[in-house]
Subunit: 295 residues, 2 copies
């Protein structure tokens, strides 16, 4: 067995992403010599113990990070500031602090200033997820053939960046670096806006009157069913993502709304050529995705 | 072998839906003694002959319907008026004319007045589809455990309605009758609006500048990928659906847009409780769908 990348990995939060990392670390053995997790609720801690996916589970984040040479924030991004404050004095000198949050400018804003000078801070975002959450939801192939984006602030220690890249490659992901503002903009359109739309249309349908509302559920055809799958995702995680990528999300929603209004106008005035052209663009994008093996 | 429901079934259009019906009829033997199809292009006719999924394939819709006791319109709904005009004088007395269009008021408006008094008209809509189209896309399990909605105008012969219901049950679907305007309203929210949104967001992404546009494709996360799957659907079919369910679609889009703007306002002003509540509703709807076994 090769020497593990880290002696002790501390996972702060052990939901879908954290518990998948824990399971992979356990299965491979070359990621961490020991995996410690922190969970806020007694129920989650009990469940993690039952699952046996970590070496230790702590109620206190400070206790979880003590002596860890890699600390990974796996909680909803809205909890990062308080978590960072709680753990900062307890981080081991030379440790790497990383995260898995879906918004990167907010993480750098909230966590960056609290990181001790002796600790390396490497923000990261594995682009993987399902509509399930909690420690039972994780699985060892979640990151396979997916991307993990690293957004290290300027001047970050390159060796630390390299070790986090290694960790994600061992989890099965491809790794790329990206500027944080650019990350937030790209994620706003490929992930955050689609989720906002999916949550919204479920509410729109749920607001329909009486009989129609019942029949929406009964006759949910392909389109709506796919939307509800996305819409079943974790409420707190997504609330935090929306609130922490506000500017980019609102800009992309504004662009989308303009485009939807243009489509509505074409429908109202019977402009078939306009509609057909927009649908053909969707097809082309789909084809590009398939060529990029992301579909 | 039981006596087939129809002596000769004529399919006008042989794409995803038509070719699935043809394949099922061939496999079961108890739907039609003979299946004749009509296709507009030489390429499709050649391909259908190669596939061997019909007994005969005709370039002329009038020739396809001659002597058929069941005629099914399986073309995009925008083509129905011209098709009905072409076939009306050639329909056999006592025949049943039905369709598979996604909009029902428009079909009754466009086709109804052209149907000879001796012919029974039973509009229908199987709620099934994939993002693929053409005669190669069909398969025998497409309608299994899906709904087929019948929207017979008042006074329609009940035996004719019963035989079309039988046909769809033999295709694996559950059958329910619905008032046409109600059908169009329910379908607007469960299917037509989700498709309009999916086509639109693909265009919004495609309009992004340079580097972002490339990265949208590269890093398409779960949400966007699901949207592009819907967005790969047949352009002419969907153009016709939008144009033929205009009022209901525009009303649902207006409702959705109001709700999206309310969500945007909550994001801008940091109203986490509002956002979380909307996401929780999405989850509840998802759960209802799963209970109804539509998921």
């Amino acid at each position: 067995m090769a020497e593990p990348l880290f002696r002790r990995l501390a996972l702060l939060g052990i939901g879908l992403i954290g518990s998948s990392v824990a399971r992979i670390a356990r299965e491979r053995g070359d990621i961490a010599g020991e995996v410690v997790a922190n969970a806020r609720t007694q129920a989650t801690r009990d469940r993690v113990r039952e699952l046996g996916i970590t070496d230790r589970i702590e109620a206190d984040p400070a206790a979880a990070v003590a002596g860890a040479d890699c600390v990974m924030l796996c909680a909803p991004v809205g909890a990062f500031a308080a978590l960072a404050e709680a753990i900062a004095p307890h981080l081991a000198p030379g440790a790497i602090l990383t995260d898995v949050g879906s918004t990167k400018q907010s993480v750098i804003r909230d966590v960056g200033p609290l990181v001790p000078a002796s600790v390396h801070f490497v923000p990261a975002h594995p682009l993987a997820g399902t509509e399930y959450s909690g420690p039972d939801a994780g699985f060892t192939t979640l990151f396979r053939d997916r991307w993990c984006l690293l957004t290290p602030p300027p001047g970050t220690d390159r060796e630390a960046v390299g070790r986090i890249a290694d960790l994600w490659r061992r989890c099965g992901a491809s790794v790329e670096e990206m500027e944080p503002a650019h990350h937030d903009r790209v994620l706003a359109i490929v992930s955050h806006l689609p989720h906002l739309i999916a949550f919204t249309i479920c509410g729109t349908a749920d607001d329909l009157e009486g009989e129609s509302r019942r029949q929406v559920l009964q006759f949910a055809a392909t389109g709506f069913r796919d939307f509800t799958r996305i819409a079943a995702s974790d409420p707190v995680m997504w609330r935090d993502v929306f609130l922490n990528n506000r500017e980019a999300l609102l800009e992309m929603l504004a662009r989308f709304t303009e485009d939807a209004q243009a489509m509505a106008r074409a429908v109202r005035w019977g402009d078939g050529a306009y509609i057909e052209d927009k649908i053909l663009r969707g097809r082309r994008i789909r084809r590009s995705l398939i060529e990029l093996k992301q579909a």
